[in-house]
């Protein structure tokens, strides 16, 4: 089984549109939407949920008002400012769940054992059917944390599912940035496809995500989306990638059909045979070739 993860550093470069198109092109895939903060892949692939599970990422503290003697030690110990002292509306100490990291310090050191730790349901995760194959995805609760843990869980579930069903390709839609959900989504992947755009911001963010993939020793390749918005910048990015021995697998032209496909709830491949669609087909073929080559570990180190 091969695992291809699509990430970008910068947001809005077209990760999800590319993953949806790959889903339409792959012969036997499992899909995983690991952009758990702002998951959008389901808007295109229309999953029918077969299995729903709560996601318990950790614990949160709760103060039992009857036991609390309002000594305030919990507030002094808490490094996350999660303890709200009594005010006019609330006569007792409370925990702000959006600030609590579930470390357990307040519970451990409360002199009257007035604090309990309870499992925090940070979201839900699903196994679904789509017209392209099964998909593992999630909804992180509003303002919740533990997105890295949720990403690790989704990837494990997706790999298990692929194993059970004898599917040979796991396609992962990643999140923007270089932080914990991104790190959780790339470690151990066979190939990270880095989607960038020919802007100074895209170039800057690409450099940081390339560094991240190297830091975690994940093979990577680049594609430049909307390449014709600034051809000189696209050429510069391609040259810099080449200088770092990173393959640029495609230049995808700006194409209104991408937005049109999104509006229609279809992948670009299903919607259009235009220039962007053609470029993504080529990108898919080259990504497959890279995944199947003997030496996917060569990422310029």
């Amino acid at each position: 089984m091969k695992e291809l993860i699509v990430i970008s550093g910068k947001g809005g470069t077209g990760k999800t549109s590319i993953v949806a198109s790959f889903a339409a092109l792959a012969s036997n895939p499992v899909l995983a939407d690991c952009d758990v903060d702002a998951a959008d892949l389901h808007l295109v692939v229309e999953p029918r949920v077969r299995q729903e599970n709560p996601f318990v990422g950790g614990v949160k503290a709760r103060i039992l008002p009857d036991m609390c003697v309002e000594c305030g030690q919990c507030r002094d110990h808490c490094r996350f400012d999660a303890v709200i002292p009594p005010d006019g509306q609330n006569p007792s100490f409370r925990i702000d769940p959006s600030a609590c990291e579930g470390c357990g310090v307040c519970e451990r050191f409360c002199p009257t054992e007035a604090i309990v730790l309870e499992d925090a349901v940070n979201g839900r995760w699903f196994i679904s059917d789509t017209r392209f194959g099964p998909m593992v995805h999630a909804e992180l609760g509003i303002a919740e944390e533990n997105s890295g843990k949720l990403v690790s869980l989704l990837r494990k579930q997706a790999r298990d599912l692929a194993g059970r069903q004898g599917r040979n390709m796991l396609l992962v839609d990643g999140s923007p940035g270089i932080g914990c959900p991104v790190i959780a989504s790339i470690t151990g992947a066979d190939l990270a496809l880095l989607v960038t755009e020919p802007t100074l911001s895209g170039r800057h963010d690409l450099q940081r995500i390339v560094e991240l993939t190297r830091h975690f020793n994940v093979p990577c390749a680049v594609c430049i989306n909307k390449a014709d918005i600034n051809p000189e910048m696209a050429a510069q990015i391609a040259a810099e990638a080449a200088a770092g021995s990173i393959s640029v697998l495609a230049h995808i032209p700006y194409d209104n059909a991408v937005t049109q496909a999104q509006m229609a709830g279809r992948s670009l491949i299903e919607h259009s045979d235009g220039p962007a669609s053609q470029a993504i087909r080529q990108l898919w073929d080259r990504s497959l070739a890279m995944l199947n080559s003997e030496d996917t570990s060569a990422n310029g180190q």
Binding site: G11, G12, H77, C103, G104, I142, I178, G179, L200
Partner: protein
Amino acid sequence: MNTPMTIAVASGKGGTGKTTVATSLAAFLARRGRRTQYVDCDVEEPNGHIFLKPDIADSRPVTVPVPRVDTDKCDGCGRCGRFCRFNAIVAVNRTVITFEQLCHSCGGCVRICPQGAIRESPLEIGRIESGTADGLQFIQGRLNIGSVRTPSLIRTLRQSLDAASVAILDAPPGTSCPVVACVRGVDYVLLVTEPTPFGLHDLKLAAAMVQQLRRPLAVIVNRSGLGDQRTHAWCREHGVEILAEIPDDRRIAEAYSRGRMLIDAVPEYEALFAQIAERLFA
């Protein structure tokens, strides 16, 4: 009224134009004589500097405390490891090992160690860089590659703000802990979206996040004319005000690609920022 305010420019979906709005809004306010600072809270991928081209006068490391074990004092009892919920400190065969990247800096292990064998030492997670740009105070966080302490860096960044200035916070994308760290306690949130299905879906999530934190919010629709009217309809139905609409204009995309600020590249759009400022400071 001329009260300093903290305004976060956020979005659920990435790439909708947060930095475009935040840089132009900050520059516009400064040019109109308002004491303003631009604060790049997108510390994983800070891009505001590309447009504002600041002279960085100061760069300082940001550290978080992580445990260091004095092996002479440690008797290997393992209470620290049993306490730590993040697997950042474990005792294996009576030898304590720390995994500092997993540590949340709660300080629990230090408190719990009966031998007083654990103290905290600083781990660098990123830097805060500050300077000036075009009459603006400029400040940004930059997370070190491989660090996962995004919210800690954002919280530290926000502690170093100048209370006498309007602060425009350029938020990270998403709806989880990094954004919460940026948006918590601000006076106002501008959510930048684009009128597409992905944009609308993520706008709903971002609006719910802001409402949960009980912050007032309004929407700016970027690339207006690109998709459809569903975003407008949703805002109407939910009583969310659309403060401004930035047209889907190729000139904006080209200026962005070259690192030019919107109000400099296409000055006719300055009126949009005057409109936003008037609404915010009315």
